[in-house]
C-alpha cells in the first residue's frame, strides 16, 4: 500500500483544469481560416483526397475534410489550420468554412431541440456505435475519460446498454454490414434521444464516401443533433462539443 501511495505521489496532478481554453502543444489542425488571396484554386480542389474543397465561392467543408493538411502545405497563404479545437456544431451547413471568414464554430441554441438542456444538462449517457470506424476516434473517445481529460467530471459518460443511454454516437462511415445493428441499437434507446456523428467518416463518409460497401440510409432517415469533425476528433473537441450541446458550463 505504501508503494502505491508513493507511485501516486509521483504522478502529481495530471488533469487539465480548463478544458475550454487550454492550449494544445505543437501543431494542431483545428478550425481552418481561408484568406481571400488569389491562388491556384483548382489545384487545391484536385489535391484534396475527400472532395472537401470547392470553388465559387472557395470553401472547405469540415464535414468532409480529413485534416490531411495537404492544402495548407500547398498554399500556406491561402489556407491555415488554427489551433481552435472548438469544432462541434448542430447544423451541417455550419461546417462549411468560407474564404475571408474567421468565426468561431458554435452549437446554435436556437436550432437545438428545447428539451436537450432541460433533460441532459446534468447527466448525459452516450452509447457509442462504431460502424466501420478505424479505431482512431474510438481511441480518442476512450482517452477523453482518462486522468488527463477526465470527462466524467462533467456528468457525461459512455454506457454499455442502449436502454441506459440518452444518445447514440456514431463513428465510422456506416458500413452496410453495420446498418442493421445500428438501427436496432438506436431503436432501443428511450426517447427523447440524440444522434451524434463523431469524426469525418461518420459525418460524410470521409475517404470512404465513394465506397459501395456503405449504407448511410440511417443518416437520411433520422435527424442529426450534433456533428463533431476530426480525423479523429481530439478529446478536447469532443468534450467541448458535448458541453456546448448539453448547455453545461464546466
Amino acid at each position: 500500500m505504501l508503494k502505491e501511495i508513493k507511485i501516486r505521489l509521483h504522478q502529481g496532478s495530471q488533469f487539465i483544469k480548463d478544458v475550454r481554453n487550454v492550449e494544445v502543444p505543437g501543431i494542431f489542425k483545428g478550425r481552418p481560416v481561408i484568406s481571400t488571396k488569389n491562388c491556384d484554386e483548382v489545384a487545391l480542389v484536385e489535391l484534396c483526397p475527400t472532395a472537401a474543397i470547392s470553388v465559387n465561392p472557395f470553401q472547405i467543408d469540415l464535414g468532409k475534410c480529413n485534416f490531411c493538411g495537404a492544402c495548407a502545405f500547398h498554399s500556406p497563404d491561402k489556407i491555415q489550420f488554427t489551433k481552435d479545437y472548438h469544432l462541434a456544431v448542430n447544423e451541417r451547413e455550419a461546417l462549411i468554412i468560407r474564404a475571408g471568414e474567421n468565426k468561431a464554430l458554435i452549437v446554435n441554441k436556437e436550432k437545438r431541440r428545447p428539451e436537450i438542456e432541460r433533460f441532459f444538462k446534468q447527466s448525459f449517457k452516450i452509447r457509442q456505435v462504431s460502424a466501420g470506424g478505424d479505431n482512431s476516434a474510438e481511441l480518442e473517445l476512450n482517452a477523453s475519460g482518462n486522468v488527463q481529460f477526465d470527462s466524467g467530471r462533467f456528468g457525461f459518460e459512455f454506457v454499455a446498454s442502449p436502454r441506459h443511454a440518452d444518445a447514440v454516437l456514431i463513428t465510422g462511415p456506416i458500413t452496410e454490414n453495420m446498418a442493421q445493428p445500428l438501427e436496432t441499437c438506436f431503436s432501443d434507446i428511450p426517447s427523447p434521444k440524440v444522434i451524434i456523428l463523431c469524426g469525418t467518416d461518420a459525418i460524410s463518409g470521409g475517404v470512404f464516401q465513394n465506397s459501395k460497401a456503405l449504407d448511410r440510409s440511417f443518416i437520411e432517415k433520422h435527424p442529426i443533433d450534433l456533428y463533431i469533425p476530426g480525423n479523429p476528433p481530439h478529446p478536447l473537441t469532443f468534450i467541448n462539443g458535448i458541453l456546448d450541446f448539453i448547455g453545461k458550463k464546466p
Binding site: I7, H10, F67, A70, E138, F158, V207, F208
Partner: protein, 497 residues
C-alpha cells in the same frame, strides 16, 4: 523453378512469377511449408479478363526472401484444399471462396470470411453459420456485434460448460468498408495514402509506411533517408504508445486502478508528441510517398528525449510494482494460453506469436529502412499466456525507446525530391512488409500494362491472430475473456478491410 524469389519491397515484372498447374502449385506449397521458418504472407486471387490469377507468397525467414508462385483458374472452379495439410491457409481459402466462388474440396469449413461487398455469393451476415454442439449440458453465449464499451463491432459466440469456455467462434465483417476496391478505383495518390491510414487507425503509421514504401518501389523512386528515418521512428513511437495503452487496459480488466491510471497517462505524452510533430495524435498525415509535410527538427529531438527521460522512471516504477503484486499476477499467469505449435499451425505473427515463443518479426527477418543497419533482435517469451504478452510489451517498449534514442543521434538531412508525377511501372508486382505493433503488415500491388493498379491486397496481422484468441480462451472461465481479449488487442477493421 516452380516459384520466383524476391525480397521485401522488390518490384519485379509480373511475368517473372511462374504460373504452374494447380497440382504443381499444391505440391510446391506443401514442400516449402515443411520448414518451420516458412509462412504464408498472402494468397489471393484477382481477375484478368475471364480468368483468375491466384498468387501465393511465402516468407522464408531464414533467407530473408519471399517465394512467390501462382496458378490460373476461373470463378466457381473446384480444386483440392491446401488447408487440410496447412491450417494457416484456411483463412486465405475462405477469402478466395467468398470473393470468387472457388470451392476448395476438403476445406474444414468453407464459409464467408467478412461478407465483402464484392462477394461472389448471396450470403447474408445475419445468417452466419456458427459451429454448434448439441448437448443438454452446454449453453451458448452470444456477444456483439456491438460490445459494451467504446470498441469496434464483431460477434463472439461461446459454447460453455458452466463457467468454462469449450469453444469460441469469432465472426467478423461488420467493419467492411471495401478498402481494397477503393485502392483500385481511386487514381488519387492523396486518397490512397489517406486510405492506408484508415485501414486500422490505431496502427496508422505502420500501414501508411507499408503503402508508401511499396508505392516508391513500384514507381522506381529511391526513398530518401530522411523519409525512411521518419517512417521507422513513427512506427516505433506508435508501438510504445499502443503497448503502454494496452498494459493500462490489462490493468483495468483485473481492477488494478492505479496501473490503469499511471499507464493510461503515460501513453499521452507519446501521442501528444505525434501531434507536436504532425498535428495528429495518431500520426495520420505524417507519412506520404516521396514527401513529408512535417520534417523532424532538432527541437523535436530535444522534446522527445525530454519526454523519454520523464516516461522511463514512471514506467519502470509501475512495472516493478505490477510484477510483484500477487493479486495481479494470479489473474495474468496461466490465463489464455496458446502454445508455440498452435501459433505455427494457424500462421500467427507479431507480438502474439513471439509471446508464445515463435520468433516472427519482419524487422529481423525481412528488414527495411533503418533495420538494415540497426540489426533487430526479436524478444520472445515462452508461455503464451496473458502475462507473457504483458511482459513482452514491457520489454518491447524498452527496446523501442533504445532504438529511437540511437536513431536520434543521427538524423538524416531532409532532401525531398519532387517525384509527385512518378507513376508505377507497368506489369509489375511488389510486396511490402512492415512490422507494426501487432505484427506483420503486408501490402501487395500488381499493375497492368499501363501502370494502373489491378490488384491491391492488404493483410493486417489480425487476419491470423483472431484465431489465436479463439484458441487461447478454451478451458478458461468466461469471466477471463475480457482480459485475454485485451492481451491480444486485435483489429476488427484491419481484418474486415
Amino acid at each position: 523453378m516452380k516459384y520466383t524469389t524476391v525480397h521485401n519491397l522488390q518490384s519485379i515484372p509480373i511475368e517473372m512469377i511462374p504460373v504452374v498447374s494447380y497440382k504443381d502449385f499444391f505440391d510446391t506449397v506443401i514442400s516449402l511449408f515443411e520448414e518451420e521458418e516458412v509462412h504464408c504472407v498472402n494468397y489471393f486471387a484477382y481477375p484478368i479478363g475471364n480468368e483468375l490469377h491466384l498468387i501465393c507468397s511465402l516468407a522464408d525467414d531464414r533467407e530473408s526472401k519471399l517465394k512467390v508462385l501462382s496458378w490460373k483458374s476461373t470463378s466457381f472452379a473446384s480444386v483440392p484444399s491446401l488447408s487440410t495439410q496447412i491450417p494457416s491457409i484456411i483463412v486465405f481459402e475462405r477469402e478466395i471462396y467468398e470473393n470468387y466462388g472457388i470451392t476448395f474440396i476438403g476445406h474444414p469449413w468453407l464459409k464467408p470470411l467478412r461478407y465483402a461487398k464484392n462477394r461472389a455469393n448471396e450470403h447474408q451476415i445475419s445468417d452466419y453459420p456458427f459451429f454448434k454442439i448439441e448437448s443438454e449440458e452446454l449453453h451458448e453465449v452470444g456477444v456483439g456485434p456491438i460490445h459494451a464499451g467504446i470498441i469496434e463491432p464483431g460477434h463472439f459466440r461461446f459454447i460453455c460448460n458452466g463457467e468454462r469456455i469449450l469453444h469460441l467462434e469469432i465472426q467478423l465483417g461488420y467493419q467492411h468498408r471495401g478498402i481494397e476496391n477503393l485502392f483500385l478505383n481511386s487514381t488519387h495518390l492523396n486518397q490512397r495514402i489517406a486510405l492506408s491510414e484508415s485501414i486500422a487507425g490505431d496502427t496508422a503509421t505502420a500501414h501508411a509506411s507499408a503503402f508508401a514504401n511499396l508505392w516508391e518501389s513500384l514507381c522506381d523512386v529511391q526513398t530518401s533517408q530522411h523519409l525512411l528515418w521518419q517512417r521507422n521512428l513513427s512506427v516505433e513511437i506508435e508501438r510504445i504508445a499502443m503497448h503502454t495503452g494496452d498494459m493500462a487496459a490489462i490493468c483495468t480488466d483485473v481492477a488494478y486502478q492505479l496501473g490503469n491510471a499511471v499507464l493510461g497517462r503515460l501513453r499521452t505524452p507519446m501521442v501528444n508528441f505525434m501531434q507536436e510533430w504532425c498535428g495528429n495524435r495518431l500520426g495520420k498525415s505524417l507519412i506520404r510517398p516521396f514527401n513529408s509535410f512535417y520534417a523532424f527538427t532538432p527541437e523535436l529531438k530535444e522534446r522527445l528525449l525530454d519526454i523519454f527521460s520523464k516516461y522511463e522512471p514512471d514506467f519502470n516504477e509501475i512495472w516493478d510494482r505490477m510484477k510483484t503484486l500477487p493479486s495481479l499476477l494470479s489473474r495474468l499467469e496461466k490465463t489464455g494460453v496458446v502454445s508455440r505449435n498452435q501459433m505455427i499451425e494457424i500462421g500467427a505473427v507479431g507480438m502474439s506469436a513471439r509471446a508464445a515463443g515463435l520468433e516472427r518479426d519482419v524487422r529481423a527477418s525481412h528488414p527495411y529502412g533503418l533495420f538494415k543497419e540497426t540489426p533487430h533482435q526479436p524478444i520472445t517469451k515462452k508461455h503464451g499466456d496473458v502475462y507473457s504478452r504483458t511482459q513482452l510489451r514491457n520489454e518491447e517498449i524498452i527496446q523501442s525507446v533504445s532504438y529511437i534514442k540511437h536513431w536520434l543521434e543521427n538524423i538524416p538531412d531532409i532532401e525531398i525530391k519532387d517525384a509527385s508525377h512518378a507513376t508505377p511501372k507497368p506489369s509489375t508486382f511488389c510486396i511490402s512488409l512492415t512490422e507494426g505493433w501487432r505484427g506483420e503488415i503486408c501490402h501487395c500491388a500488381i499493375t497492368d500494362e499501363k501502370g494502373n493498379l489491378i490488384a491491391y491486397k492488404i493483410k493486417d496481422p489480425s487476419l491470423h491472430n483472431w484465431l489465436a484468441l479463439a484458441l487461447a480462451v478454451r478451458n478458461n472461465e468466461i469471466s477471463d475473456f475480457p482480459i485475454i481479449n485485451k492481451s491480444f488487442n486485435l483489429s476488427y477493421c484491419g481484418f474486415d478491410l
